[in-house]
């Protein structure tokens, strides 16, 4: 058997190493964040994948530019009866179906044209003659927005619940942990599609004290809220455990004896100590939520048509998989690249910050 793991890239910087590097100079105090940054900086793989993620985000942000100047059509513009010119020939964007020579022929949209049609239909068209490349970019915007915003909501709510449960303990802790346990007993996808389908019909009309949330049925706020809600226990439970053990430490006792109030202790004493875990969770939850959004949209309980998202695109492409396989494959590749980039970067971040944070995955 090999020697106990000696991983070259992720070695922890020991005080001795730091001292040696500064060659006899006075050892300066380093913050844990700085030490983590040093470890992360050496992880080139993680940085390369962060670059990939940024690239995808920028491409999606620039979607309108591509739509106006290259494809010259919007994400929801249909061109069923239009034709395009390829090598001087006129081709229907969506071929006409019907009875041809005694055989029934289904109408099929054009496949990938690459740049033969002057930037139009680079990746082909869908059943309604919409440009898939444009929809892919706009769909990426939807998927990324839903993924990032829902993760933000999820992490914020889970952190607050974990701080409250861990700090106060007692009946509040009991109620919050039971709430977490309850949602563990639910298959995540089942809860997601149940909520998503129920809300997709009539939208949300909630009035909570001062806030009122109103979203009609096509709004992407609905899948965002559903997705953020579903994974709260998976972040909240481990965080609560951490807060609970920090609560027993001397520095909290010292803080109490100095007369600090509960809010001050929770947000200026406890929160900075779990911040590294939260950051890791946030990265990995975005990856998770992008997949969850795709799954819900694929089942019809997430983003609603005509709005494009990577999930709805795969679902649209499913019907054409035999004649135009790339239509369904392309958005999937987009998801895999984005999620892989986030997972690899999140993994590197975890190695640098907090080796124990774990995130559950989807079936």
């Amino acid at each position: 058997m090999a020697q106990p793991a000696t991983e070259t890239e992720f070695t922890l910087d020991t005080a001795a190493e730091l001292a040696a590097e500064e060659s006899g100079a006075v050892i300066r105090g380093r913050s844990p964040w700085y030490l983590a940054w040093r470890r992360l900086r050496r992880n080139y793989v993680a940085f390369a994948f962060l670059g990939l993620f940024v690239l995808i985000v920028v491409a999606c942000i620039l979607a309108p530019l591509y739509a106006h100047h290259v494809a010259r059509t919007g994400p929801n513009n249909t061109h069923v009866l239009d034709t395009i010119t390829v090598d001087g020939k006129q081709i229907d964007v969506v071929s006409k179906g019907g009875v041809l020579g005694g055989k029934l022929v289904a109408s099929t949209p054009v496949g990938p044209q690459w740049f033969a049609a002057g930037g139009k239909y680079v990746l082909g068209a869908d059943q309604l003659g919409r440009d898939i490349a444009v929809r892919l970019l706009y769909g990426g915007r939807t998927s990324l927005i839903v993924g990032i915003v829902s993760s933000l909501i999820c992490v914020v709510v889970a952190t607050i619940l974990a701080l409250l449960a861990g700090f106060y303990g007692g009946w509040l802790d009991f109620v919050i942990t039971r709430f977490f346990d309850l949602f563990y007993a639910f298959p995540v996808i089942l809860l997601g599609i149940a909520l998503g389908a129920a809300l997709a019909i009539n939208g949300i009309h909630l009035k909570l004290w001062l806030f009122s949330i109103k979203a009609s049925s096509g709004n992407i706020l609905i899948p965002t809220l559903v997705i953020s809600y579903v994974l709260i226990p998976y972040v909240g439970r481990p965080l609560r455990g951490q807060v609970l053990s920090l609560r027993q430490k001397e520095f909290i006792e010292a803080s109490i004896s100095q007369g600090a109030g509960p809010l001050r202790i929770m947000f200026t004493e406890l929160l900075p100590n779990v911040a590294s875990s939260i950051l890791v969770f946030f990265t990995l939850i975005i990856a998770n939520n992008i997949v969850l959004e795709a799954a819900l949209s694929f089942l019809g309980a997430g983003v609603q048509p005509p709005r494009a998202s990577w999930g709805t695109l795969i679902s649209d492409g499913q019907g054409l998989i035999v004649t135009r396989p790339w239509f369904a494959i392309m958005p999937g590749i987009a998801i895999v690249l984005t999620v892989l980039a986030l997972n690899v970067f999140g993994d590197g971040l975890r190695d640098a910050l907090d080796p124990r944070a774990k995130v559950k995955i989807e079936h």
């Binding site: 090999a2 000696t6 639910f186 089942l190 799954a295 079936h363």
Partner: protein
């Protein structure tokens, strides 16, 4: 032990009731429109007011929601749940889905546990070397793939374009075991890929944590060969978290959690039944399936606790 079991059983029943209550609330109250809203959905978009009224009376939507819930639970425990839309009894529909779901889960479970452990051990033992990095990348790619997309692409490439495997649908085990396995190979592999990656990563981390413990050094110092140290000392401890994970994931899939895999491969299992019912806003089947799913999760979490105690005497329940 008896006290532990009784306490867990009572807890389990409470959790299951709470879960059904949440589902009930989601489908009766959240969609809005009050009592007529639900009746309207079942009757259809273009239904006459008379039809909506009769649907409302028939299923009792005009009653207060707690009365409706009590009746629903009563029907659930007396096996009288009937679908709103197809009028089929829910229990027999779930029973029809069970062979497919169980076959999918058990086969995939064996594959993902075996390969998950294999992958985890290999990458931990060779940590930092080329094989470890390769495995790590492959595992992360596996984790990052949406399962329904992988299923779709696999089905297209291997079943529709080249007929290497049969295209979808469940083939009963009793009719022909060979055909049964042949029909399920693709769904098994697709479902297992995700878990293999995830389990491999978790196990690798656990082994690397354990390998630096004092007792492992002691075992080596007293001259045990490295295989024995790995299997008897390191793995025995590193596998404990994997057992928990496996118990809960297995229960989730058994309880209809593999909705996506079942839908993509058209297996007509319990998960697919749930997905269809949700799209039809058919509350009784959703209640039934949720109860069924929650049962497995709760049951397996008790099983995991007992197994835990067997493996590690320090956490024996009292």
């Amino acid at each position: 032990m008896a006290v532990f079991l009784i306490r867990r059983t009572i807890g389990a029943i409470l959790v299951m009731l709470a879960v059904t209550f949440i589902v009930f609330i989601i489908f009766i109250i959240v969609p809005g429109g009050g009592k007529t809203g639900t009746a309207q959905r079942i009757a259809g978009k273009n239904a006459t007011p008379e039809l909506v009224n009769s649907v409302e009376k028939r299923w009792g939507f005009d009653q207060p929601f707690y009365v409706q819930y009590a009746k629903m639970v009563k029907r659930m425990f007396t096996n009288n749940l009937v679908s709103y839309t197809s009028q089929q009894p829910v229990l027999s529909q779930i029973k029809q889905g069970i062979p497919a779901t169980f076959s999918l889960t058990i086969g995939a479970g064996i594959i993902w546990l075996f390969f998950g452990i294999l992958v985890g051990v290999i990458s931990a033992v060779t940590a930092g070397r080329l094989s470890d990095r390769l495995i790590t990348i492959l595992a992360l790619v596996g984790i990052s793939m949406p399962v329904f997309w992988l299923g779709l692409v696999m089905r297209y490439l291997l079943a529709e374009k080249n007929s290497i495997f049969p295209d979808g649908e469940y083939y009963p085990l009793t009719a022909n075991p060979l055909q049964w396995a042949y029909h399920l190979i693709l769904p098994w592999l697709v479902l297992a890929v995700l878990f293999i990656g995830f389990y491999g990563r978790v196990l690798r981390g656990n082994i690397l944590d354990t390998i630096n413990e004092d007792y492992v050094r002691t075992a080596k110092a007293k001259g045990l060969n490295s295989r024995r140290v790995l299997v008897k000392h390191v793995l025995r401890n590193s596998l404990i978290p994997i057992i928990t994970l496996f118990g809960l994931d297995f229960a989730g899939v058994l309880g209809g959690g593999a909705i996506l895999t079942e839908t993509v491969f058209d297996l007509h299992g319990v998960g697919q039944y749930a997905a269809q019912s949700i799209n039809n806003f058919d509350l009784p089947p959703i209640m039934g399936v949720t109860m069924y799913g929650a049962f497995f999760i709760v049951f397996f979490s008790v099983l995991v606790d007992i197994f835990y105690a067997f493996l590690d005497p320090r956490i024996r329940p009292t």
